[in-house]
């Protein structure tokens, strides 16, 4: 790959999963109780995409990572104090509403517009990364629509691995049923990759990386374009948290063979 990739990672922010998440009806539809006040984190699926992007950029000379994030900029700023310490990137902030109940079409349109406006972005070098799922309400279509709007039709979802060849083509492992991966080979950028968990651990915080990123993060937040997301006729009849399921049994002194048999039987069900 001669000039490297321009990797654009779309990543929203979600409430810290340890927080109490209680659906609440707001003026603009459903949301979470006190959501603005809850500590937020980068959506874990998209975060996996960010770390994979940084890893790929480090291996492919001339590559660059952009992080495109839509959310209230005050919340984005708080999250950046951690995320910016992880890996080098350039932030493109879009000041918009918080929450997992926005319309995916409207969100995708705002993201696509922000990406299209990135100065110097070359579509033929662009890899569009994001989360396959979301820790808030995953619509399951946002990344596909962003790709379509930007004219990127090579799309992969549930990605766990990308391996780039010298000619710029790459092999992608996508999750399929049965714990297996589908192997695809793509001729090269541009492409959309919606990441599952990838295989990289969360990088440690490194304030030196953070200070370098911050030179761009703060100006990006200051000039973040404000967007309103149209509901496009979307409405929610009801919202509820998934019920907790507890199927734990306490059994004493069960022989190992019997435990193994039970597990196999459960898998075969």
């Amino acid at each position: 790959m001669a000039n490297g990739f321009q990797i654009v990672v779309c990543a929203s922010i979600v409430p810290d999963p340890l927080q109490t998440l209680e659906p609440a009806a707001g003026a603009n539809g459903p949301g979470l109780k006190n959501e603005m006040m809850l500590p937020a984190v980068l959506d874990p699926w998209a975060a996996a995409g960010l770390y994979e992007a940084a890893n790929l950029a480090a291996k492919q000379a001339g590559s660059k990572v952009y992080l495109v994030s839509l959310g209230p900029k005050a919340k984005l700023q708080q999250v950046m104090m951690t995320v910016a310490q992880k890996v080098p990137f350039e932030l493109v902030a879009v000041d918009g509403p918080l929450g997992g109940f926005t319309d995916a079409q409207a969100t995708a349109a705002a993201l696509a517009e922000a990406i299209a406006a990135i100065p110097g972005l070359e579509r033929e070098r662009m890899l569009l990364f994001g989360g396959w799922e979301s820790a808030s309400r995953g619509a399951g279509v946002t990344m596909q629509v962003v790709g379509e709007r930007l004219g990127v039709t090579d799309q992969f979802q549930g990605v766990d691995q990308i391996t780039v060849d010298a000619d710029g083509s790459f092999e992608v492992l996508e999750r399929v049923e049965g714990g297996k991966h589908q192997v695809s080979v793509c001729a090269g950028a541009p492409a959309v990759l919606g990441w599952a968990t990838g295989s990289l651990p969360e990088p440690r915080n490194n304030p030196q990386v953070g200070m370098a990123n911050m030179r761009g993060v703060m100006p990006a937040l200051q000039k973040a374009k404000s967007v309103k997301l149209d509901a496009n006729g979307l409405s929610y009849v009801s919202v509820s948290l998934p019920k907790q399921q507890r199927e734990t049994r306490l059994v004493k002194d069960m022989p190992e063979d019997e435990i193994a048999r039970e597990i196999v039987a459960w898998i075969e069900e």
């Binding site: 006040m37 209230p72 951690t82 440690r204 915080n205 304030p207 911050m214």
Partner: protein, 736 residues
């Protein structure tokens, strides 16, 4: 006057998050500090918490896991937080607030981890504060974690001051460690032989160098100094046996023995040779004074973190206390509120929370003050050199004029021009901030750790039997014990009180204190619900009592305020700390009110948050006022001898037959007279009621203070409602 209106604002919605803290503690515009906080938090609630959960505190030995913790600090930027960017750090300028924030985050989980990080800074601090440029450049660079591509290990240090009994400990002025001339060849650097035994030396297990305080044992060396010893120096660098401490076990503590030959250029701050004698540029006392006045603040902040970290686990435990019982149905009050159904549980936690907020406010205010003072101190030092002033006595004399100007600035009715002139005067600003810092530092160390330990006991008790188990979420019992060490190391409570005895009576401090009383009245008139008015009255009472004791004598004619009379001086020091802490707490809440609306995150639910924090201030102000009132009353009355039923005492009594006569022209006197003697019989009590010279003024103040408490319990009730209703996370974000 205290608030009498009942607020219509509801309970605070969630526990205060980062955005609120950043405004309260004034680092919302410092993203370098915000990143440090996040980084230190990730280490504390990740690797450190897992170490504690895995039982790493159960050994005094230095283990591979503890060594790994130090490496984790390096990777997370905690070690580099002390350094300038050119030395490998990432924060420019003064770092007192930065180090306090990092220590706060680490101590949120474990005090030993915080101490381990601080001990390295403590070892470097003598070099940083008083070292020569070469010493500073050399050791700071080596103590910074290696940069990318650099092949070296981080150099770690230990500060070796304390020695085996009988000397260094409470009194750091006396040293047994000795330095002598080993070799001194013409035209060459003298070689020195250092003999030093340490006691309770932190970080010694992993230290590659030590900054050791020693006294001269040789006529060719004048006085004491701090000297740098390296593990590779010729001789013995024995780390000694680990101290069997019951607390802070993640940090290493030991009793090392040093017998080393080192070049004289290791004397911190360098030396000059006068008449064939090596004269260190700084005595060990001058070095440690510069060091401790900064690092002690950080220790105080560590205890604040413990208190605030206790809030969430206690609420979760108390709410869920009865869940799981067959008879407790989901949705019932007992299921939802658990122990929180009881007012006492709520109000006791309010006290813990209020103390935590007050101590954090005091600690961070002190840290910020030192950040302002640091550059002024360097400018002052440069000005003194420029004016040819050297030595601490000469400097004190030279600063007298600035002190007079500072008093003029504080007290005088000045023209705008004169005010601007004095405000722009570096030395005036230095003496003002120095006088305040000389009080805030020991106050933080003394009050945060002392009252913090008492309140940690309360927090443990709120968890019932669970509180004193290793399984207790938030490790509260560990924190309770750890707090006791924080009250002791880096100068125990008596040392802090002794320092306050001197610094709190400085005219410059007292002039500022008078201004703070006015400031509190001003805040009270704008925002009555914070308890600022109550505080102002308590501050006035403290000032009155200080004045009274400084002039007054006891029943035997001895002076009340005297260096050796710690029953008076230490008590007043204790009382002052309560007042200073609440003042800082109130100022923080005022800042939140002023700036909270500009932050989109904070503005959500700002009214409720402000109300809760104001109620905590009011609660704490009432508690502080109660303490001050008690202490002051004891001092004002307690040194008078109580009248007895003797001839002298009877002079102040009525005779019953006299009273019968008086009743004729003073109707009702019979019902109010208490000390009445009749046929040699007196009332059943210790003696005639006591009076006291000047007591009318004091009683007026005390009476006023009592009425100023109006509304404080209403505030506590409202705060308790937040404790009952505030939304908390589903689970603690670190393992127990």
């Amino acid at each position: 006057m205290a608030s009498t209106t009942v607020s219509k604002v509801g309970a605070m919605l969630t526990l205060p998050g980062d955005a609120v803290r950043q405004i309260l503690w004034r680092f919302s515009d410092r993203f370098d500090l915000q990143m440090l906080v996040q980084s230190a938090r990730a280490v504390a609630r990740g690797p450190v918490a897992r170490m504690v959960a895995a039982g790493e505190r159960n050994t005094h030995e230095w283990t591979p896991a503890k060594a790994e913790m130090m490496e984790t600090f390096d990777r997370a930027g905690i070690t580099a937080a002390f350094m300038e960017p050119e030395e490998g750090g990432f924060i420019s300028g003064p770092k007192n607030l930065a180090l306090a924030l990092a220590a706060f985050e680490l101590a949120w989980v474990d005090g030993g981890a915080a101490t381990a990080s601080l001990a390295g800074f403590l070892a470097l601090a003598p070099i940083h504060e008083r070292g020569t440029a070469e010493q500073s450049a050399h050791y700071m660079a080596l103590a910074a974690p290696p940069r990318e591509g650099e092949e070296r290990k981080t150099m770690r240090g230990a500060f070796a001051l304390t020695e085996p009994i009988p000397y260094v400990g409470v009194d750091t002025g006396m040293l047994s460690g000795r330095v002598r001339v080993a070799e001194w060849k013409d035209g060459e650097e003298p070689m020195l032989q250092v003999e030093k035994r340490g006691r309770f030396i932190t970080n010694i297990a992993c230290a590659n160098f030590a900054t050791a305080a020693v006294d001269s044992g040789d006529a060719r060396i004048k006085g004491s100094c701090v000297i740098i010893l390296e593990e590779t120096d010729e001789g013995t660098f024995d780390r000694g046996t680990p101290t069997k401490k019951l607390v802070h076990q993640l940090s290493s503590t030991g009793d090392p023995i040093f017998s080393l030959k080192v070049p004289a250029n290791r004397i911190v701050g360098g030396y000059v040779v006068k008449d064939g004698v090596i004269v260190p540029n700084y005595t060990h006392s001058e070095v440690i004074e510069a060091v401790f006045r900064r690092t002690r603040v950080t220790v105080g902040v560590m205890t604040s973190a413990k208190l605030l970290s206790a809030v969430e686990p206690v609420i979760r435990y108390q709410r869920g206390r009865f869940r799981g019982a067959e008879s407790i149905k989901e949705g019932s009050l007992r299921y939802d509120q658990g122990i929180q159904q009881r007012e006492d549980a709520l109000q006791r936690l309010v006290d813990v929370w209020a103390s935590g907020e007050a101590s954090a406010s005091l600690g961070f205010a002190a840290a910020r003050l030192f950040d302002e003072l640091d550059p002024l101190e360097r400018l002052k030092a440069a000005l003194m050199v420029e004016r040819g002033v050297s030595g601490s006595r000469a400097e004190m004399k030279a600063l007298k004029e600035s002190e007079t100007k500072a008093l003029e600035l504080l007290n005088g009715n000045l023209t705008e021009e004169r005010r601007a002139e004095l405000e722009a005067d570096t030395l005036v600003q230095f003496v003002l901030k120095d006088a305040a810092a000389n009080v805030l530092c020991p106050a933080t160390k003394l009050w945060n750790t002392g009252e913090g330990t008492r309140q940690m006991r309360e927090a443990v008790s709120l968890m019932g039997g669970y509180g004193i188990t290793e399984d207790c979420p938030g490790y509260l019992a560990n924190k309770w014990m750890d707090a006791q060490l924080e009250a002791t190391y880096e100068g125990p409570e008596a040392v802090q009180r002794r320092q306050l005895t001197i610094t709190m009576t400085s005219e410059l401090f007292l002039a500022q204190f008078r201004g703070w009383i006015k400031e509190m009245r001003g805040i009270a008139s704008e925002r009555p619900g914070t308890g600022a008015c109550t505080l102002a009255t308590a501050m006035t009472m403290w000032l009155w009592t200080l004045n009274y004791t400084q002039k007054g004598k006891d029943a035997d004619g001895n002076k009340l305020y005297h260096g050796q009379r710690q029953g008076v001086t230490f008590a007043l020091a204790d009382a002052l700390c309560w007042l200073l802490a609440v003042r800082c707490q109130i100022l923080d809440v005022q800042e939140l009110e002023a700036r909270g609306g500009d932050d989109a995150v904070v503005s959500e639910g700002l009214a409720e948050t402000l109300q809760f924090f104001s109620d905590l201030c009011h609660t704490q102000s009432a508690r502080a006022s109660g303490e001050v009132s008690r202490i002051c009353a004891e001092l004002v009355y307690g040194y008078n001898r109580h009248p007895a039923w003797d001839a002298e005492g009877h002079k102040a009594c009525f005779l019953s037959e006299e009273l019968d006569e008086y009743e004729g022209f003073i109707p009702g006197i019979l019902s109010v007279a208490t000390d009445v003697v009749s046929e040699g019989m007196h009332p059943v009590k210790a003696g005639p009621c006591a009076g006291c010279a000047g007591s009318a003024d004091f009683l007026r103040l005390q009476n006023k203070l009592a009425t100023c408490l109006t509304g404080s319990r209403l505030a506590k009730d409202r705060a308790a409602e937040t404790v009952l209703k505030v939304m908390i996370p589903e689970a603690l974000d670190y393992p127990a």
